[in-house]
């Protein structure tokens, strides 16, 4: 186990599109990151799923690297971050925010598959590094960021929050 206390920096910053798809049979949602100049919009079948393009948003992806020990944490499994505004008493994310009290802001790290059928989500190492990175940069002593994986949401499809993606950018022009 590393004894380094880690000084994380963003590395490997990539600009592209977060593409969201939905399966019209089982209603599952999935997303992926595309660095193509125009995000793909084709419908296709993958096993039991029939994926249809739902939309795309300009987004950015990055990894984290420790300036001290050189460890790099790959965040390829994270599709985005969402500031939780959930108040459902049955949702663990809402509970974490409530227990944290004023000044605690819970951000949900969103993985590619809302069903979590594969059992995978954003890695524990990624969640820990994101939490350390953002809190390490905060100057306000009364503010704390808690990053949690989207498996903590009671239902990622109904959980309330504000996704950090450029949903409204084209409305400006």
């Amino acid at each position: 186990m590393s004894t380094c206390s880690h000084a994380w920096s963003m590395v490997n910053i990539r600009n592209g599109y977060l593409v969201v798809e939905g399966c019209y049979k089982c209603k599952a949602r999935a997303s992926f990151f595309s660095t193509e100049p125009r995000p793909p919009v084709d419908d296709y079948q993958d096993g039991e799923h029939f994926w249809t393009y739902l939309g795309s948003f300009q987004a950015v992806k990055f990894d984290l690297a420790c300036d001290d020990c050189g460890q790099t944490v790959d965040l390829d499994d994270m599709m985005g971050l969402m500031l939780s505004t959930c108040s459902d008493p049955d949702c663990e994310v809402a509970r974490i925010a409530k227990e944290g009290g004023k000044g605690t802001w819970v951000y949900v790290a969103l993985c590619a598959d809302s069903t979590h059928a594969s059992g995978k989500c954003v890695s524990d190492a990624g969640i820990a590094a994101l939490t350390e990175y953002f809190n390490g940069n905060i100057r306000d002593a009364n503010k704390k960021v808690v990053v949690v994986p989207c498996t903590k949401c009671k239902s990622i499809d109904t959980c309330r929050g504000i996704v950090i993606a450029d949903t409204g950018l084209t409305d400006l022009y």
Binding site: V60, L83, W105, F134, N137, I138, R139, D166
Partner: protein
């Protein structure tokens, strides 16, 4: 220079209650996804973007204040979220470049 001092010198009124912080830098961007990779803690953010998710991004990197240029005004729920986060929100009628030159004249970079 503190946020309140900047506001006074340029003649801006905050739309939100905010924690008055010492300004440590400036970032200009209209993409919320870009803000989390470029903006800095205690910095001010100059933007045209008034969407609520801009505050979610600014809060994550601990931005001190957001200045909406060209007179763009955010919705009430955006102001409420910024107030909870202690982020100052100001509206300037000038365009981004004109505002940037004002900041440079005041020694803020």
């Amino acid at each position: 220079m503190k946020v309140s001092e900047l506001a006074e010198k340029i003649g801006l009124n905050s739309l939100a209650e905010y924690t008055d912080k010492e300004i440590e830098g400036v970032y200009i961007s209209d993409m919320v996804s870009d803000i989390i990779t470029g903006a800095m803690a205690n910095g001010i953010l100059v933007t045209l973007q008034t969407h609520k998710n801009l505050i979610a991004a600014a809060n994550l990197v601990d931005v001190a204040a957001v200045i909406f240029v060209r007179g763009k005004k955010p919705a009430a729920d955006v102001v409420e979220l910024a107030s909870r986060a202690g982020i100052g929100l100001f509206v300037a009628d000038m365009d981004t470049w004109s505002f940037a030159t004002k900041l440079i004249d005041l020694g803020i970079r």
